[in-house]
């Protein structure tokens, strides 16, 4: 899909809070803790699923670096997007629009944590994992937030690279390499991101339209978005199953991902067919909620198989 040609420059965020008004909780909120927890979880699964045993202390250090790096990226995103965050219902309560943290404080906080997390990852774990962490933060800030988000409806498709990298970071931290298995985990999250965010955007199109963010429902319309959701869901289901065919997932994973993938496509079909009124809104909301469960369960099963696989084989 081509660029929309929309010229949405940042209007600048001119609220001027008293410097130093933010408490510890405000800085934690600046790190997008819910996103951070999903990033840490998928990174942890990549770390556990990778070949070779990693010392628990090094694994903990890697996870802390991933968490801090993800939080830093969130803070930098909130710094840059403060102007539109203030106008959107979903984001108006964030620390910068509320006047608890100034944009300059957020920028400084995010920049220090970004550099710190990458350097610590390199020194404590390995430099491949550090490079991937730097790529993740850089991609999220420069490619997604600054470049794509306000210019093209493909923003979350391409920007999804940043959210999909954490399992590869975990994999690289544990094994010192990137491999096909790590790439498959990346691909699952990459294909999961569009239907997840577009299901949310369907019900929030007015919010995005008001602030000039060209999300797909705003630019191409709800029906085109529903079609894209279905296409990506159909692509996601077999890719979600693929770890079972490359030895990354076992029988439990094959059954779980098969059932969840089929359910994902079924819910996407409902979104595609129910287009009007409250039924349409409910269908999109249900797919959005289920998509979170889908990713959590898929990675949880991988975690169980790899963390307890040896134990189960031993007791069998």
């Amino acid at each position: 899909m081509s660029d929309t040609g929309l010229d949405i420059s940042r209007s600048g965020f001119d609220a001027s809070p008293a410097v130093g008004a933010g408490g510890v909780g405000d800085y934690l909120a600046l790190m997008k803790p819910r996103v951070m927890s999903l990033v840490v979880f998928t990174g942890f699964v990549g770390l556990v699923a990778a070949p070779g045993a990693m010392h628990p202390v090094l694994a903990l250090a890697a996870l802390i670096c991933i968490a801090v790096g993800a939080g830093a990226a969130g803070a930098l995103n909130m710094w840059y997007d403060a102007d539109i965050d203030a106008k959107m219902q979903r984001t108006a309560g964030r620390p910068i629009p509320r006047g608890r943290i100034s944009p300059d404080e957020a920028l400084t906080f995010g920049a220090i944590l970004s550099v710190g997390s990458v350097v610590c990852m390199g020194l404590l774990v390995n430099w491949l994992a550090a490079a991937l962490l730097a790529l993740t933060i850089g991609f999220y800030l420069f490619v997604y937030t600054m470049w794509l988000k306000r210019r093209t409806p493909q923003n979350i498709v391409i920007g999804g690279v940043a959210g999909a990298l954490p399992p590869m970071i975990g994999w690289a931290a544990a094994s010192g390499t990137v491999s096909l298995e790590g790439f498959v985990l990346f691909l699952i999250i990459f294909l999961w991101t569009p239907p997840h965010f577009w299901a949310l955007a369907l019900n929030r199109a007015r919010d995005y339209e008001r602030v000039g963010v060209p999300m797909l429902p705003v630019v191409a319309g709800a029906d085109a978005t529903r079609r894209q959701i279905l296409i990506y869901s159909v692509l996601l289901a077999p890719v979600g199953l693929s770890p079972a065919f490359i030895g990354l997932g076992g029988t439990l994973y094959a059954i779980t991902s098969g059932l969840l993938g089929a359910l994902f496509v079924a819910l996407a079909c409902i979104v595609y067919t129910r287009r009007e009124g409250k039924a349409g809104e409910r269908a999109a909301q249900r797919l959005f909620s289920f998509s979170i469960l889908y990713l959590l369960l898929l990675f949880a099963v991988l975690l169980i198989e790899h963390a307890f696989g040896g134990l189960l084989a031993w007791t069998a």
Binding site: A18, V19, G20, A21, G22, G23, V24, Y27, H55, V57, L58, A61, I64, C120, L123, L124
Partner: protein, 47 residues
Amino acid sequence: MIQLTEEQKKRRRSRSIAIAWALVAMAVMFFVVTIVRLGANVVNRPF
């Protein structure tokens, strides 16, 4: 000169404590990782 309110002073204090804990945690993490990486070699050093 900016005069901070009591509430702002309280938040600044809590921020300072959080930063102190983060720095201590980082120092401990570097120390422990060093021990883990060097293992028994940590005592083998030229005099």
